[in-house]
């Protein structure tokens, strides 16, 4: 449905690349999350797909039609891509109804359709309000309704929750993706929050410094990250250096690098690889307590535990199946 081939974008004539040689495909109906730190190129990627930027190289195809290549460029208004902006970008001088009608002014049943999508996002009855009279979450939903109204073949949500506070964010995230999945539209969801991505996406793309470094299903990304960077995006990890390997008496393949997730350490439990350690600092984090440990061999590591009353001298260990292995 969406095909991207060796897409590259540079804003400074090739001195640096915002996006470098990115290729991937999306199937009809997929909900895909685009994850990366700020500056990783995720917004650039979706702006290229939307047609708001021109690429330096590469091809973008939508529904089999080439919309962007070295010789051709379909302008954004002809691409049938819906985009929900980070700051919602509602038209401030128009009511909700006018905002939603804006993209479907030529449709025969435009009024029914507008009311339909407003009801879909739960804002039926507020048609005559202006954007500034709404809360952030409501504005977000109007932006979604407006983007969905013309039945786009692809829907892009660019950091849709970054302007909301944490409580609202979770609730709205679930609501919005229920709506998105109910409409069956192919969607790309840009976020820097891996929890958001894991919660809603069928598939996750990880960008780092403009390069696509992994594309996989959510569960696979968590259990089989292909680099320590990806592993650390989904939770704290500790790299198993040679020193740590010998401390835990756990020799691993020297051709690869290894890491283990913080939560896979077990305290005072039977494990395959264990060592003794002394707690030298405790930091209370609410749900968890962070322990700074000094191992018998002298290295320091920090782990999380739910047990607030850990003794000063403990046994710490992990099992081989939890070790993540990367080709370096």
């Amino acid at each position: 449905m969406l095909e991207i081939e060796s897409l590259s974008k540079s804003f400074d004539k090739g001195k640096s690349f915002a996006l470098k040689n990115v290729s991937f495909h999306l199937k009809e109906g997929d909900v895909c999350a685009l994850v990366g730190e700020s500056g990783s190129g995720k917004t650039t990627l979706v702006r290229l797909i939307a047609g708001l930027e021109t690429p330096e190289a590469g091809i973008i195809r939508l529904n089999g039609e080439t919309v962007s290549s070295l010789n051709s460029f379909v302008p954004p208004e002809k691409r049938k891509v819906g985009l929900v902006f980070q700051d919602y970008a509602l038209f401030p001088h128009m009511t909700l109804l006018k905002n939603v009608l804006y993209g479907i002014s030529k449709d025969k049943n435009k009024n029914e359709r507008a009311r339909e999508v407003l009801n879909l996002v739960g804002l039926g009855g507020m048609e005559d309000r202006y954007p500034h009279q709404l809360s952030g979450g409501q504005q977000q939903r109007v932006a979604l309704a407006r983007a969905l109204a013309p039945n786009p073949s692809l829907l892009i949500l660019d950091e849709p929750f970054s302007n909301l506070d944490a409580m609202l964010r979770m609730q709205l995230r679930n609501e919005i993706f229920e709506i998105v999945k109910a409409t069956g539209v192919t969607a790309i969801f840009v976020t820097h929050d891996t929890q958001d991505a894991l919660a809603v996406a069928d598939e996750i793309l990880i960008l780092q410094n403009g390069e696509l470094i992994q594309k996989d299903e959510a569960a696979n990304l968590y259990t089989k990250p292909n680099s320590i960077y990806v592993a650390s995006l989904f939770g704290n990890t500790i790299q198993l250096s040679n020193e740590l390997q010998s401390a835990f008496q756990c020799p691993l393949n020297p051709a690869c690098s290894h890491a283990i997730r913080n939560e896979n350490f077990a305290i005072n439990e039977e494990c395959e690889h264990v060592t003794h350690a002394r707690v030298i600092k405790r930091t209370f984090l609410g749900h968890d307590t962070q322990l700074l440990l000094k191992l018998d061999s002298g290295q320091k590591i920090s782990v999380l535990t739910k047990d607030r009353n850990v003794a000063d001298l403990i046994m710490i260990g992990f099992n081989s199946k939890d070790v993540l292995e990367f080709n370096s």
Binding site: S8, K13, G14, A50, G51, L52, T54, E56, A57, L70, N71, S72, F73, P75, P76, E77, K78, K80, V81, G82, L83, F85, Q86, D87, A89, F91, P92, H93, Y102, G103, A143, R146, A147, P150
Partner: protein, 553 residues
């Protein structure tokens, strides 16, 4: 570096393909408009290669030093006057409480409503033999002391007192928005107010002050009417002399080119002084200003200090003009005068309309073009504001005469038709020149309101399937209306006041209020100049007050 297997996407071939892909109609139209706007300035540059006129060596030997000396004197003397009045009044109004402060705030802008040449006429009348000052002194039984104002010092005073509001406005904005925190910090450190002003505020406000000062100096170099009336030889009067009296366009072009060099050196100087200095804090200070309450005696002194430039730059000249108007209205106020007024307003309205459209085209078409360099060069279109009106006029004459001759030859050759001039000496050329000169006046307010509209807004309109032009009318236009309105008003006002460019380019049968005032003054009928002058002042004053409201808000 070319790697095996991967193509070099920055090779010439690929760049060319992308250029072809990204060239849309908006890019081409932007370039076309830019070409027309830059053409007059380029024409002067090109003409330089065809050699100066016969009198050039005469001018170099006898007059050039005079031109340079006088223009430099005016730059420094006017600069000193506008700094003195502009910065002091801005500081007092922004930092101190005193009676009538709110009224003074906008009264201080009013001198801008009177063009320099009209202030010059009024002051000549005040200080002349048999002038107002003599009458008053005689009535009071005092001996007459004559100030000779018709010289370059007098000219510097007249221009300075009518132009200081540029510096007042720019530095007041700084003192209002940025100064509060700094002032308080300084006070907390135990530094007195006088030391704070000179050690902290003045250096901090320097970029803002100099930005205003540069505008003043451009106006000074642009002036023709006042210098001519006071008999001071400047570059601009020199250009007029060689154009009209000596009938040597080549010499006028050479002088114009020199003047452009001076103006651009000033601009570079400003850029240089601003280079590292970015004092403006990135957020507006919303905190309420704490104006100082001094003793009532001191408050009265402040009021007098602030009142002085208003008196000199506005009240006094206007009083003189009103006095003259009462003496001459019977002779001046007739049907012909009304015709001139209508022509004047018509031309100004038409120019304002065209300028706003061109400014909108430059700002938005360049944004819609997908080529990066178009966006970067679109601002070249506003260079005309730096170029003195007389120079722009000559720059317009060169290509329009060329095109006219070419058209006449072609028509004669092809159809044997004897055609007249269709551009030279017509309204088309005049309005073309106004647009070149005042495009910046329209461009800046529109651009600054457009910048406040997040890019995501037009982008989301595009994403909803609506093209650029419709997006502009449905989304952007309603959101930038205030910017467009102020652009329209500002150009209207500037055209109404404009003299040198109009004198050179106005069609034979057309007249404007400014030209009429100038003609009266040149024909030894300066009293009759009062009525057209007052007409200009009143028409300009209303929008200036309106815009100040916008600015304060």
């Amino acid at each position: 570096m070319k790697q095996a297997g991967s193509k070099n996407i920055f090779s010439f071939k690929y760049r060319l393909q992308r250029l072809k892909r990204d060239s849309n109609k908006w890019a081409i139209l932007t370039l076309l408009i830019l070409f027309l706007i830059v053409l007059p300035i380029v024409s002067i540059g090109v003409k330089l290669f065809s050699g100066p006129g016969e009198t050039w060596s005469h001018i170099v030997d006898n007059l050039l030093l005079d031109y340079i000396g006088n223009s430099l004197f005016l730059i420094f003397a006017c600069g000193a006057i506008v700094l003195l009045f502009g910065v002091s009044t801005a500081w007092l109004v922004a930092r101190f409480e005193f009676p009538l402060r709110k009224q003074m705030e906008w009264l201080l802008i009013l001198p801008l409503a009177i063009p320099g040449y009209i202030v010059a006429y009024a002051y000549a009348g005040i200080f002349d033999y048999g002038g107002t000052l003599q009458l008053i002194l005689k009535a009071a039984g005092l001996p007459f002391v004559r100030f000779d104002i018709m010289n370059k010092s007098g000219l510097a005073f007249v221009l300075g007192i009518s132009l200081f509001p540029y510096v007042y406005v720019s530095s007041r904005a700084f003192f209002l928005n940025q100064a509060n925190n700094l002032m308080e910090a300084s006070e907390m450190l135990g530094v007195g107010p006088v030391k704070t002003f000179f050690k902290l505020m003045l250096p901090m406000a320097r970029p803002a002050i100099i930005a205003g000062l540069i505008l003043v100096l451009m106006e000074v170099l642009n002036d023709y009417g006042a210098a001519k009336y006071f008999g001071v030889n400047t570059f601009t009067t020199g250009i007029f002399r060689s154009w009209f009296s000596l009938e040597e366009p080549e010499t006028a072009v050479y002088l114009s080119a020199l003047l452009i060099v001076i103006v651009f050196s000033l601009i570079l100087l400003e850029k240089f002084q601003r280079r590292k200095l970015r004092f403006n804090s990135n957020r507006d200070n919303n905190m309420r200003l704490n104006r100082k309450q001094l003793s009532s005696k001191m408050q009265f002194v402040i009021l007098l200090v602030v009142l002085l430039p208003v008196l000199l730059g506005f009240l006094l000249p206007v009083a003189q003009l009103i006095y003259w108007a009462t003496l001459t209205y019977e002779n001046v106020f007739n049907l012909y005068f009304l015709t001139i007024s209508v022509q004047s307003f018509g031309i100004a309205l038409l120019t304002a309309f065209v300028s706003v459209i061109i400014a909108v085209i430059l700002i938005f078409f360049s944004k819609w073009s997908r080529l990066g360099f178009i966006k970067n060069i679109a601002k070249l279109g506003i260079l005309g504001y730096a170029i003195p009106g007389a120079v722009v006029a000559i720059g317009i004459m060169i290509p329009t005469i060329f095109i006219d001759r070419w058209l006449i030859d072609i028509m004669d050759y092809l159809f044997n038709v004897d055609m007249g001039l269709i551009l030279t000496g017509t309204l088309v050329a005049l309005i073309y020149a106004y647009v070149v000169r005042f495009l910046a006046v329209a461009y800046n307010p529109i651009e600054s309101t457009a910048l406040k509209v997040s890019n995501a807004i037009p982008d989301s309109s595009n994403m909803l399937g609506v093209g650029n032009l419709r997006t502009f009318f449905k989304i952007e236009f309603p959101l930038i209306r205030t910017g467009i309105a102020s652009a329209f008003i500002l150009v209207f006002v500037d055209v109404l006041k404009e003299l040198p460019l109009t004198l050179i380019l106005k069609p034979f049968h057309v007249n404007t209020l400014a030209v009429k005032a100038y003609e009266y003054a040149s024909d030894e009928m300066v009293m009759e100049a009062a009525i057209p002058s007052l007409f200009i002042i009143v028409t300009v004053m209303l929008p200036v007050i309106f815009l100040n409201r916008l600015l304060i808000k």
